[in-house]
């Protein structure tokens, strides 16, 4: 089967700093992979390169067989790669419902002219968008919050809104950047269930960055470990746990994974 997302020899230099160098990663449809590494290893930079926030220095990113280099972030999103952010970036003063509806916009299917004159496809499409957004909020148990302003929501709910918003764009690949950051243990458990659930429900391919080993080891089928912009290990969770290079990268020499936990 052809991979859905293929990252080949990807490098990104900021001046003299090599944030990412010669990074490879392949996602097949339905994969749930993890990307881990110490702070500053370049994980979020990989996300930023894939989603078009930064221009790529060298290498290629192929989505469904075609290179997406040089495309604007919104084009990449519309093609089917959506993401969340390490530091939550909801639209703070918009309602929860509108946050999600914004991301439905690309598939809104009516023109600005139809919008201001309230003619043509406006009514039907607007109803579709609202219905779709409310469906998603239902999945994330946020329907009761739809009219609240996003910034007033508690942290855990904001994270869920972000995932709902990413899904509203109808992506094939979902990139989650530290979805469990700042969550308490019971919320983390719920999040793991939720990630598994949406993968089935929306037939997603997921790549996630996470620091909480419980999440990564618990739900990812394959894990890529980065350090100093490079891939230092790749494999199944149990392989990664005992990989001496990984342990060294995280903790220095002479410590085992168990003691780290």
């Amino acid at each position: 089967m052809a991979p859905i997302l293929e990252i080949i020899g990807l490098s990104k230099h900021f001046g003299g700093l090599k944030a990412v160098s010669d990074f490879d990663l392949t996602l097949h449809e339905g994969d749930l992979q993890g990307l881990i590494g110490p702070n500053g290893a370049g994980k979020t930079t990989v996300f930023n390169l894939v989603t078009g926030v930064y221009p790529v220095t060298t290498g290629d990113i192929r989505f469904e067989g075609q290179s997406i280099l040089g495309q604007e972030p919104w084009m990449i999103n519309q093609r089917g790669i959506a993401r969340t952010f390490q530091n939550i970036r909801l639209f703070p003063n918009l309602s929860v419902l509108d946050n999600v509806r914004v991301a439905c916009h690309a598939h809104g299917g009516y023109s600005t002219l139809e919008a201001v004159a309230r003619v043509g496809r406006y009514r039907a499409r607007e109803r579709e968008i609202t219905e779709r957004a409310r469906n998603l909020l239902g999945v994330f148990n946020l329907l009761g919050r739809q009219d609240e302003v996003a910034k007033n929501l508690p942290y855990g709910e904001q994270r869920r809104v972000e995932i709902a918003r990413a899904l509203a764009a109808n992506p094939k690949v979902l990139l989650l950047d530290e979805p469990a950051a700042g969550m308490n243990p019971s919320e983390v458990g719920a999040l793991m269930d939720l990630i598994r659930f949406i993968r089935e429900q929306f037939r997603l391919t997921i790549l996630l960055i996470e620091h909480q080993m419980r999440v990564v080891m618990g739900i990812c089928e394959q894990i890529t470990v980065m350090d100093f912009g490079q891939v230092i290990a790749r494999g199944k969770p149990e392989e990664i746990q005992n990989n001496p290079k990984v342990i060294e990268a995280y903790l220095g020499r002479g410590v085992s994974y168990r003691t780290a936990l």
Partner: protein
Amino acid sequence: MKWKVPSWGLLVILLAAGAVLQLAIHLEVINAYWALVVTYMCIAVISSLGLGIIYGFSGQFALGHAAFMGLGAYTAALITRYMGVAPWTFAIALVGGALLAGGVAWLVGLPILRLRSDYLGIATLGFGIIVRVLFENSDKVIPVTAGARGMTGIEQPDFVFLWAFLLLLGAIIVARNLRFSSPGRALLSIREDETAANLMGVDVVRYKTIAFVLGCSYAGLAGGLYAHTFLFLHPSNFDFIKSFDPLLIVVLGGLGSITGTVVAGTAWVAVLEGLRLVLPGEVLEWRYVIYPVLLIAMMLTRPQGLFGTSEAAILRPREAEAPAAPALATEVTADGTHP
């Protein structure tokens, strides 16, 4: 096709009120001076609604609004100069002014809208000054504008107030329909977080341009009305300082609030003209001393503006058609876990 307007009843009442006011002006129950004042209220609000779309909706800090108003004013005045002020030629003039302002906004916007925040502000402000300089020198190309001496000989069409009032209602409806639509939400998302909007599939450049062109067309339309209300155009009427007026109105009303813009714009004209009435002649120069003091006091007490981002009930959409909670919702329990 059924048009969805805030409320048919209200619209009828407003139309009737406008007609009655126009009749009162026509019969000189309201004197010519106050006729100018109420017409100017409509003009100021139309122009400010335009800036509201640019700055209040999509968050682009543009400070060249007066220049676009001037472009519309001169264009419309030139058109009626050659075609007369019959209702249909006046309509052509107003549309022509709005289109020209919008067209120039499009051309200028292509390169300039990439700039962010204060840099955009100062670049548009600079554009405003360039346009004023061009107005001052315009008589070298089009002698009838008279350049720095000011353009005279603009004829007044019939029922200018009614024109301004009807166009104001139209401007409110268009802004409101935009606000509560998918393209409108795209604009708001750019205001809230441009990068996130881009990553959520919003073609940021396109929607910024739409907002800028539409907002500047509002200014051009207001300019056409201005020309045919005051019948004299001078480059200093469209100086960069004048771009602060719609900015004040939009911020005082509450950024992004159409209701706020309408109320603040009307009140702004009313206060400036009211001070003229209240103050005795010998201290009339205190008018522009009191006005900034009011402005500062207002900002210190309500920095978020009169209405914040909220809208009056009649402008809000009726979400009656929202579907019931979908079946999927039942699969998630209260704390977000799955059974």
